[in-house]
Amino acid sequence: MDPRENSDNRKQKENNQQQTKPCGRRDFLKGAAKLAALGGTAMLAGCGTEALGSSEELKLRFKEYFKKNYRLMTPDEKDETILRLEQLAKMKRGVDVQMSSREPIEGVLFGYAFNVTRCEGYMECVAACVKENNLDRKSNTQYIRIFEMEHGEMTPDAGDGKYFHEVPVADHFYMGVQCFHCQNAPCVKACPTKATWMEPDGIVVVDYDWCIGCRYCIAACPYYGRRFNWNEPLVPKNEMTKKQHYLGNRMRSRGQMEKCTFCVQRSREGRNPACVEACPTGARVFGNLLDPKSEIRFVLKNKKVFRLKEDLGTDPKFWYFVD
């Protein structure tokens, strides 16, 4: 053994004495490296046994750590990881989660339209989104932002994105901004680990476990469509949405990117996203772009529509329209 490993051993002994040391991603990786080097016993010492939980949990987490990218998994592997994640949710949070990996529906390309004339700025959609997608309550993460804009303003840059007063205000209109699920998405191109991609049904998703937290995608997105977990997300146990999807509203960790997924756990079942369902004014239209009889196609055909920053060539699947 070389002297460096010996010093590592000493550190482990110290760690053993400090049982309460938290186990982060980096510590875990260190532990895994030592496992390879020292043959199994060093793993538990890598971080305190208390923080790791039972040996069963440790086993699950170990398997979770070495799983593939979602797109490379076979259906069996997807089922296995989902089972593991459900068990881990039960162990760590005490929540019975029903997770799915439902595949995209054939012949569906999701599109969204937002009626700027009808939106009154009540922000019911924002609240519903936070609830449905298990967003972090601590840092108040929100996928949707509603801008209050004066008549005649054309870009949300000029609007007020953090208003809090009685709405609607006279001579103002409201414009909701979220991930636009671009057909030519710049965030997908920016990701160095291929942790984000566009699904065949047009939803741009993130494999949270493959995200390394570099935030290149945030820099690449011209619409401020992505959110980063600066802290471990906090969702009260009784408020958690238990029906989850692997690519959707399952719990994220610190250092992972997340974004609107058109509520993939709902939309792939034929249901509307939570924001559409919550909207009290019917300003939000959601549907299948490939279905000539869908409502979204009616809007695109009959109303005056525009997309935000269309000149950038990102090709968003999110249109604004006026009555």
């Binding site: 922000m123 009616f298 009555d323």
Partner: protein
Amino acid sequence: MKTPTIRNCLCGTLSVLLIIFAGTATYSGQGGVVQIYKNATAPFDDAKLVDGVLPLPDKAVPVKSRYQGGRFWTETRKDKIERFRCSQCHNDKDVQIPQAAEIAHGDIALVHGGQDKPLSCFTCHKKDERDFLETEAGVKIDMDHSYQLCGQCHFRQKKDWVGGAHGKRLSNWAGKRIVKNCASCHDPHVPRFEKRWPKTYSPPFIK
């Protein structure tokens, strides 16, 4: 003298070709998702492809207009009106309770139609048959089909509602199209949405 002409010819054809190619390149670049959905004309059988589609609820009636996809349904209204049937009181018999109208309908404040041309009860309600509504042309209309009545003035909204640009569906984008009735969202007596506090607030930007 021969070589320069050939060169000129070549340059000319090359530049023409370049312009054509550049044109097609930009055109294909502009296609994108717009071209994708415009090319999709085949009907989509969602009942077959989406297994989570809900069955038609009992409390929906078929709408008498057709939308681009054919038949659609709307929420019923009669079962949501507190004191329906209206003819329980509005009949030939005398009402015994004093100030009965005040007790029954005192909460109704009609804010509909603007100041210069305000509406009255009998603009919409049928005077001799209170269980029904009546259009300006005197056509009797069922409470469940009130969109026919609203649509006489708000024809633009009705056209959008039939097509899908106004109003909203009940929970599902796939399956049978069941939409909210006019009166599901708008109080027919005070149709404009009230001014109120937003449900939540947004924190300042953090990148």
